[in-house]
Symmetry: C2
Subunit: 470 residues, 2 copies
């Protein structure tokens, strides 16, 4: 039971204040929903956390409508929970204190593509897949790629990353500016489109990763990149996870600008082969990708092959054809669903620690002592170039003993990572699932975070119960 993690409040049963309900109806008409099934669906993400539904779901179509909703909620003292694609993994969308969910998927316009500036402005509800489809004709792309069909607003709110972060950075690095609605319903822009600025506090980075607790993101301006002239991939099996990790750490330490460096352990490769009908060799495997002009890519591939073989790689198979590469990354992105399919009815508890790369081998080795003893299926995948890896604990949320075992395993993992100068979450965020680790990770700095929250949301109406303990 994730009551072990943090007891979600009992779903709020009573209705919304009548004045608020009337105001929202007047504003949104049929785009306000009180339907139980819809509320249930909006109270959960993709992880093991149970649904904790909001009292109403709003479907605004503009920043002005979001601002009007926030003003109505502020007047009523009612909590607000923003919702993108519902792909979050730490209970970010749970309406722990009831209130109004703002579903931003109706705000799905691409507002401006500017190839000359390598940037784009989108509404928060645009998904990363759709953005890249729309960009195709321009020769540009947006690299940040978390697993799900996430919205760009949700990705900004959780400071998401993915398989390309080792080369292109995370949402922290790739959001130029945002439009945000504050707790009082004021509309602000966090910065200009200039590539750099020293003009005051970095509001863009403050709102990136704030998980809806400081304001609601309604528009995002993102950096774009030219689709590389050449893309090459390589599949590189090893006898052990340890050798694979050592190879990646060497590649990073040599400063080779690989675009992707992903690890799957043996069990994950098995699950992927079964789910995606692929035939990868069932052993710990690194998947590399290389971007650039021809000579630079050839140079990188040769260097990485040399390093990998030096660390015991069993093979180094390049996958240059677009189809083979597409299949590879599609398989990689389906890991969450592939391992879930190993056990019908189960859910995946995905851990997310990230440590300095020099501590990665030790962190994984100590963790594997723990996972070998587990009573359920566990996969290991890693954005190992960043020092970030995920265990997928395939658990039955209705089995209290199993959930307690999973929680204890995750607790030990997080403490290990923090002791190794790392973080409890590389890219999934805190939600309410990791609130209990905030004090351990941040110490006195947590007081500064509390002061920021108090300053921007004194009534604690913006996604209450997320990020900050107590």
């Amino acid at each position: 039971m994730d009551s072990l993690t943090l007891p979600p409040a009992a779903p709020v049963a009573e209705g919304l204040p009548p004045a608020l309900l009337a105001g929202l109806r007047a504003l949104l008409g049929p785009r306000l929903s009180l339907n139980a099934a819809e509320r249930e669906q909006h109270g959960r993400g993709e992880s093991y956390h149970p649904s904790c539904p909001p009292q109403a779901v709003c479907h605004p179509r503009s920043t002005a409508e979001v601002a009007a909703i926030l003003r109505l909620c502020a007047a009523a003292g009612t909590p607000i929970v923003p919702f993108g694609a519902g792909t979050s993994l730490e209970g970010h969308v749970a309406a722990l204190r009831g209130g109004v969910c703002i579903d931003l998927r109706g705000m799905d316009r691409i507002l401006a593509v500017r190839p000359d500036d390598l940037d784009v402005t989108v509404e928060a509800g645009v998904t990363r897949h759709r953005l890249n489809e729309e960009l195709r004709a321009t020769g540009l792309f947006f690299p940040v790629d978390p697993g799900g069909e996430s919205t760009l607003g949700g990705m900004a709110a959780t400071r998401a990353s993915g398989t390309n972060a080792v080369r292109y950075g995370t949402m922290r690095d790739n959001v130029l500016s945002m439009t945000v609605v504050t707790a009082t319903g004021e509309i602000i822009r966090t910065g200009s489109r200039a590539r750099k600025s020293s003009a005051g506090y970095d509001l863009t980075r403050l709102f990136v990763g704030s998980e809806g607790t400081l304001g609601i993101i309604t528009e995002v301006t993102l950096r774009l990149y030219g689709i590389p002239e050449v893309v090459a991939a390589a599949i590189c099996p090893f006898a052990t996870v340890e050798e694979a990790v050592a190879a990646v750490v060497s590649v990073i330490q040599c400063g080779i600008p690989v675009a992707r460096a992903e690890l799957m352990d043996r069990r994950t490769v098995q699950a992927v082969n079964r789910y995606s009908k692929t035939e990868y060799r069932e052993t710990p495997t690194l998947f590399f990708e290389f971007h650039g002009p021809p000579a630079a890519v050839a140079e990188q591939v040769a260097l990485v092959e040399e390093i990998a073989r030096g660390h015991g790689a069993l093979a180094f198979d390049s996958a240059r054809e677009p189809e083979a590469r597409a299949a590879l990354w599609k398989a990689r992105h389906s890991v969450h669903y592939a391992i879930q399919a190993m056990r019908p009815g189960a859910r995946v508890w995905s851990t997310d620690v990230c440590v300095p790369v020099s501590n990665l081998a030790r962190c994984i080795a100590e963790t594997r002592e723990d996972t070998e003893r587990a009573s359920f299926f566990i996969s290991l995948v890693g954005h190992v170039g960043d020092g970030n890896f995920h265990l997928g604990l395939v658990v039955d949320p209705s089995d209290a003993a199993e959930m307690a075992e999973a929680e204890a395993l995750n607790d030990r993992l997080v403490r290990r990572a923090i002791a190794l100068d790392g973080t409890c979450t590389g890219e999934h965020g805190i939600g309410y699932g990791k609130v209990k680790f905030m004090e351990l990770e941040h110490g006195a700095a947590l007081g500064v975070m509390r002061a920021l929250k108090q300053a921007l949301d004194p009534a604690n109406l913006l996604n209450p119960g997320k990020i900050l303990p107590g």
Copy 2:
């Protein structure tokens, strides 16, 4: 007179509260100075702003001592102004309301070099030159390079950048974590050394660029990079500034990862030749640098030469010898002093707008209509790959009419840049010199910045009068 910009308060004449003075003496002994000449020197940077001296200068040697100073000042209600190398350009170190200057140059230890993680932790008073000297044997370097002999703490505090930002980013991108002392004298760490994290608010980015107004930075953990296998430079003269700018914009739009792309106009080349005893052709000139393994660098050089010639480059002279490159970048970094030397007794008022690259040509063209009419010498240099350029207005601060002319020119330039979706400062910061533009640039977002300041420094003791108007 920069009273036109913002009147600095008359230097505070009365002494510090006796209890504070006694406390500081007990803490620091001879490392507390009330000497008039030393206070005068600590009240000014390198620009046209007059000195506005603090009432005392402290020379702490540890974070614990800084924390003790802040606790004493908090109890006395006395302002605090942090001081690095005194290279700031917008009056950041002026003690507008008197108080205590904390000179951090005594905190100059390199605490940990970690080649395996490509990071380093230094005290705030270490200069970038010294860091790179100490790193040489490791094969690593720190790229961010503002013009002066700046300290890394000061660079973090102003979100500095320099000639390498087009490839390596600014201090925003290259600070992993910091130790900061808050207004109440509490010591916090803004984050772990993990390359990425989604664990709560991004305190690192909040304190980077906060100019000592939210806390005092005492230690900085920085990203490092491998010294490139090959470094090549190219000098590329053009008949006009417009052609040179168009060439750089094309290079950026093609996504070529140049390490540097710097512009000097004709007058700047003349000043540099005279000051640095160089013999560059006296015409608008681009200076490029390329980093990487051999094939990648050769590929970049060929592409950039093709683009430059397509935009009318008069030549494309490569400078592969380390000596020629060193001379080139030393000359570039001395521009501030070179143009100051054109007029004995004068000071340089350096403007700093930054716009999206597609608006750069227009911003420069409209600005040149203005500068052609000026009554004093003006140079133009640019980190044009970032959309950032500086005019160096060589003025006599005692000539009121000239200062009024300079201020009017800068005002028009800033308004033009903001109208083109840019910023009043790409890398110098706000200090008090640009406070008056904050409302125009940020609109309602300024209210959020005020709320953050109020939350972290309610008594307004941390570098008061900087960043925020009123």
